[in-house]
């Protein structure tokens, strides 16, 4: 039995990073890898998010500190990155949930819903950017 199991079998791994350039990435796979990237980004910046929440709630003085920190341009860039990551992860996640119940699994609708994720998430991220940098 164990001989059968240990027989060498082809191993299918994620494509290596250097192979990426040789692949034509369909829209759905761009969505997918960005889902991962945005998720990891949100995870890595968790302490920063908790720090901001802490500052914003502790007291009126710390709320003013929070506003001062959040008004620095590089902090605004981080907040923008977080907002994009959240929006992308949210939209791509909703797409996942819909596909989990076997809706829109064929190639054509999968491509359309992938485009839909960008159509929703990118303009909203642009709105956040305009708001952050004081256009309105």
């Amino acid at each position: 039995m164990s001989d059968d199991v240990k027989k060498s079998r082809p191993e299918f791994r994620n494509i290596h990073i250097v192979d990426l350039m040789n692949y034509r990435m369909p829209l759905a796979s761009v969505i997918s890898i960005l889902h991962r990237v945005s998720g990891l980004l949100l995870f890595l910046l968790l302490p920063f998010i908790l720090y901001l929440l802490d500052k914003s709630l502790l007291s009126e003085e710390s709320f003013d500190d929070f506003k001062a920190v959040a008004s620095k341009w590089f902090v605004k860039l981080i907040i923008l990155a977080l907002s994009w990551a959240y929006l992308h992860h949210f939209c791509a996640g909703i797409r996942h949930l819909v596909m989990d119940v076997h809706v829109g699994l064929d190639k054509d609708s999968a491509r359309k819903s992938a485009a839909g994720v960008f159509v929703v998430s990118l303009p909203l991220a642009a709105l956040v950017a305009l708001k952050l940098f004081g256009v309105f």
């Binding site: 994620n14 998720g39 990891l40 995870f43 302490p47 914003s56 709630l57 709320f63 909703i94």
Partner: protein, 121 residues
């Protein structure tokens, strides 16, 4: 080996946590999506963007609990997702195990911090 359809040579192995975590990731995702709607509606319908408005929102017990439940969902969700990333890209077992344990401890720490932020006297 009579009544199953997996064949006599296949050995089913594994810790069987795949389905549970797959489902947990979906359930926690729905919890977070609902909370996102709650916080957007509560925040955008309130006219008060000052400290009082913001802290007042977080002063309500139901909102503290909703926030805490959502954060717990987030941490579980992040655990499944980040562990998937380590399993996919980090092959040396020692390094993978170290990263997984660090992720777990880190998320538990964040949970403690979140509770402190929400229920500070």
């Amino acid at each position: 080996m009579a009544n199953d359809n997996i064949g006599p040579k296949r050995l089913v192995v594994g810790a069987h946590y795949g389905m549970r975590d797959w489902l947990a990731q979906r359930v926690t995702a729905i919890v977070m999506a609902l909370y996102t709607v709650i916080i957007l509606v509560t925040f955008l319908t309130g006219k008060d963007f000052s400290y009082e408005g913001w802290a007042g929102m977080f002063a309500m017990q139901w909102f503290k609990i909703a926030t805490f439940v959502t954060l717990m969902a987030l941490f579980y969700h992040a655990w499944v997702g980040v562990r998937d990333i380590w399993m996919d890209y980090v092959k040396p077992v020692a390094l993978r195990l170290t990263l997984q344990i660090a992720t777990m401890l880190w998320l538990i720490g964040c949970a403690g911090w979140a509770a402190q932020i929400l229920w500070r006297a």
